[in-house]
Amino acid sequence: MNSPTRLPAPMGLLIDRERPLRFSFEGQSYQGFEGDSVASALLGNGRWLLSRSFKYHRPRGPLSMAGQDANSLVQLPEEPNVPADLHPASEGLKVAGQNFSGSLDSDRDAYLGKFSRFMPVGFYYRAFYKPKGMWKIWEPLIRKKAGLGVLDLDFKPQYYDKAYLFVDLAVIGAGPAGLRAALDAANSGAKVLLIEQQPVLGGSLNYARFDIAGTRATSLRAELLAAVEGHPNIQVLLRATCNAWFTDNYLPVIQHKRMYKVRATRCLVAAGSFDQPVVFRNNDLPGVMLTSAAQRLMKFYAVKPGQRAVVLTGNDDGYLAALDLQEQGVTVAALVDMRTTPVDSELATELKRRQIPLHLGSTVYEALHEAGMRHVSGVDIRPITGQGKVATQGLQLACDLLCMSAGYMPVYQLLCQAGGKLAYEETRAEFAISNLPTHLDIAGSVNGRHLLDNVLADAARGAAEALAALGLDVPTPAAFAAERPVNFPWPIFPHPKGKDFVDFDEDLQVRDIVNATRSGYRDIQLVKRFSTVGMGPSQGRHSALPTARLVAHATGRSIGETGVTTARPPFEAEKLAHVAGRAFDPYRQTPMHRRHLEAGAKMMPAGLWQRPAFYGKAEDRDRCMQEEARHVREKVGLIDVSTLGGLDVRGPDAAELLERLYTFGFAKLAVGRTRYALMTNEHGVVIDDGVCARLGERHFYVSATTSGVDRLYQQMLKWNAQWRLDVDITNVTAALAAVNLAGPLSRQVLAKVCEGIDLSAEAFPYLGVRLGKVAGIAARVLRVGFVGELGYEIHVPARYAERLWDVLMEAGAALGIRPFGVETQRLLRLEKGHVIISQDTDGMTHPAEIDMQWAIGRKKPFFVGKRSIEILEAQPLKRKLVGFTLPPTSAQPLEGHLVLDGADISGNVTSCEYSRTVGQIIGLAYAATHQATPGMHIPIRVEGGEIVQATVVQLPFHDPENQRQEL
């Protein structure tokens, strides 16, 4: 086992040296500290090889130490592709490498790199698609070689959720700019949300060096944090990533297992800029890293990144990093500056004072390596002789750490999602962002401000503009100093032997990008799609700028004209669990729900409602259903029909509204009477049905289907708004619960508990409606016959409904009352040939197809769908809903099974069940009109492809004279 050795404090800002922990990587045990990332703990143990590259299986170690590259992707037991430089090390954690054959250290697929010349960019587009069908053979092999970890298919879902956050100002990034802006805004009264990816505030103040003495960052950090932490107007989210920008500053911010949906009046992006690599041969070796990564290693984790370092830079920051390295005991073998002189001449003086060799106008042409390429072992330094050109001779130096910094690329992704434009400033060799929408601003290095004082001044300006927009006090902004260039204009040095990587994720070398343009893909978007540059996990953070430069040069355009590829959300990989969040699946229960459960109901969904299908065990469905049906036919049953839609239509124009909405006439419907109501849409298609009960001259109570009432209510409101009738429409579906007391003994049961209503057939005939009291509860009682028996629908306010159920069950006990469910009701209505809208009808059904012409008021001047129905009826009928029977021994068709007409399909089964009452299998099906005559046979293809010959019969199947419901 390796033991960790760390630098002394104040290095190690994030780790707690008093809390060691153990974890394993590739089966080997390692020690780290609380606060370590997996990568920092491994590097602290001298373990640099963390992964294998995507295509050539080259050894890779950390590049950015900030979760911005694919070099550190590792496998956790339950999750692949985890960035080891972000993921915290924890006690007992088991980590493995991924994308190798054999072992991570000795990958058998590493030979692929030797064949890179045979795998040029886009090779698989051309090599594996011919002859036709070959891709299916190659695909699994190629995908296996380009493996990206293993999914845990036994993964147990975890709790993720979402929450809104409402703020005046969202500041993205808590570096010097973010902290300063948040503080200024908060001090003036704005409610500020400060979003930071890292576990601590401070951004570059935590790891970068801003002055030769090395004190500026520390003091400024302490000053800003003291003011920000605990500020009542600042809410801080650490380890949080703003993963996109959507219109009006709608920001999805992911923190731990939650996605915050931030609604910010103003948004200030102070996300900084990405340190950029230099392109040279073997720039991907373990031990070659961004300068900022080496600084992070030391200052965050107290890990000494090497013993002997070379720093390759294109700006003054590399000098400051060299000072950091030396102060932590790293021998700086050379500082290689691609420029001919630093901007700040004092830096060169300081290097000289510290005896750090300085090579101006030079570059690393090739990184040298140990056997197996497991670590950098030296560099070949060459003088630069032109753009991308070097001298033929140079100097070789031994080193075990190579830090590189070619300059910076603003974190442009969110800003481009917001419509921001990137313009390349040739004199500064960097992209600048403009054209941002109102209420979105940028500050700091993302805005091209790199001097620390300028960063702070820019933050103050950003805060001032936000405060002005919010109508709050605006402090006086500071002035800016002249900026110095930080980007070397051409940090790309192609090597004849290649392996000069532009895109580490996809193993793309300089010649791959250039060859893409030579293949005709001159546009940067096409280069991306052909070469896959920028399509890996780092999404172009390090490849966009060199690609733009290479494509511009190869196509003879400027870098500004070439641009970069479109940046789309998400900013970094996000889990589907974050997008899904906590699932909200509303459901509705009737007031009698508890009674159904107590009675052993098998519940079923009906839209959002939970309804009893039948009472008994699921496996006893048929028996329970048949027994319940027989009970209703012979004695009395009780069903909860609270889910039926209910609408109160009141006002002087109530009848007129119904006249226009429904096919039937209601103007002359007497008070105390009900009438079947069929609704069609403008196309004459049947969309709902129910019963209209007239409770008063100006008051109708209208029922609707369970699934259709919400849409119906909307339709009523829409039409009423258009017609401007004097009417009020109220959806009382949940407010009025209802039961249907059905069966020949129902009157006897109701008589025991009913007051104020004469229940005799003469006084309260079929299709009548009465107001009275049932069980002492004010009730609307309707005589309707959906199941074809003497029956009463009793509607009461929901608060009393359970009491109503209890009283009716008690009153009916002596007569053998029992509850029945929806499945039973469907069988009973099928026996009567009653259709269920949306089960026996579809999006094309018009009244003539289901024999509903009788429900159309022909004398009415208008109803919705009238004109269409007239047109449809003038055409020959193409299909018809028919009743059919089959012997009990026949295979039973299911809903959806096809009705055939020779070799053609003429319709489908919509309802089918065995009926003990009829003694046969009965059903409804659409069939061709020439098949619809009673006595004809229709072939139905059932399960397994068997064809059964069903007999078309006249509807209804039971009680054709309708005597039972009119008792």
């Binding site: 809104y164 409402f166 949906k261 509705r588 009141r650 359970e802």
Partner: protein, 227 residues
């Protein structure tokens, strides 16, 4: 434990099956949870608590004559839609649209005044239609300093006091169902009155408690409110 049971009453809250073991108090023709157990509920009330007020009377009126009708009945009405006004006797009148009002009963008279409004109303030629809000909607009260944060997990409307002041009304969606939210709180006790589909309240109660869990919230009875 109280000997009262919800099923002893003719009116029942849709949530009563979830209130087993709670101590109940009588509320006219129904019961209401007085307290859930022996635990201190006042502190919870201040932090994050949920109260089922579904059995407390409430009623709605809508129509061009409703305002005059209610004013004649002695109610002070909000000047604009989506506002609520506390009446002197503690009941609350919310204006939901140009011509629609929602009356919420007060615990001080156990909702008696509002119950009368429902029972005495009769439809006449006036455009003043009664809306059965006690049966169409369940009524929950979310109290405490974390109320807005709880709702932010369920609802896209900013319900922080600085954006949603006392007396404000929001008709919106929370946890994917329609709700009416009224800020009826004070500096001493932040409180949101939430009315939702009565048939969905078991679902919504669970969703709210789940959202409250992070803040150590839970259900409390009305004793904590009345003491």
């Amino acid at each position: 434990m109280s000997s009262l049971k919800a099923e002893d009453f003719i009116e029942r809250s849709p949530l009563y099956p979830l209130q087993q073991g709670a101590r109940l108090a009588t509320l006219a023709h129904s019961s209401i949870v007085a307290r859930y157990g022996e635990k201190e509920e006042h502190a919870l009330l201040q932090r994050c608590a949920l109260i089922d007020l579904s059995n407390l009377p409430r009623v709605g009126f809508r129509g061009s004559d409703s305002a005059a009708y209610l004013q004649a009945r002695g109610y002070c009405l909000p000047e604009q839609p989506n506002q609520a006004v506390r009446q002197q006797d503690g009941c609350l009148v919310a204006r939901l649209s140009q011509s629609e009002y929602l009356l919420l009963g007060s615990l001080h008279d156990l909702g008696a005044r509002i119950a009368v409004e429902e029972s005495r109303w009769e439809q006449d030629d006036q455009r003043n239609y009664l809306l059965p809000r006690q049966d169409s909607h369940a009524w929950l009260q979310l109290t405490g300093n974390r109320s807005a944060e709880v709702m932010a997990k369920l609802c896209g409307v900013d319900l922080r006091a600085r954006a949603f002041a006392s007396g404000a009304v929001a008709q919106t969606s929370a946890a994917r169902i329609n709700v009416i939210v009224i800020n009826a709180g004070s500096q001493a006790l932040p409180a949101l009155q939430i009315l939702c589909d009565r048939a969905s309240v078991q679902y919504f109660w669970g969703a709210l408690l789940d959202a409250m869990d992070e803040f150590g919230g839970g259900p409390v009875g009305i004793d904590a409110l009345l003491d």
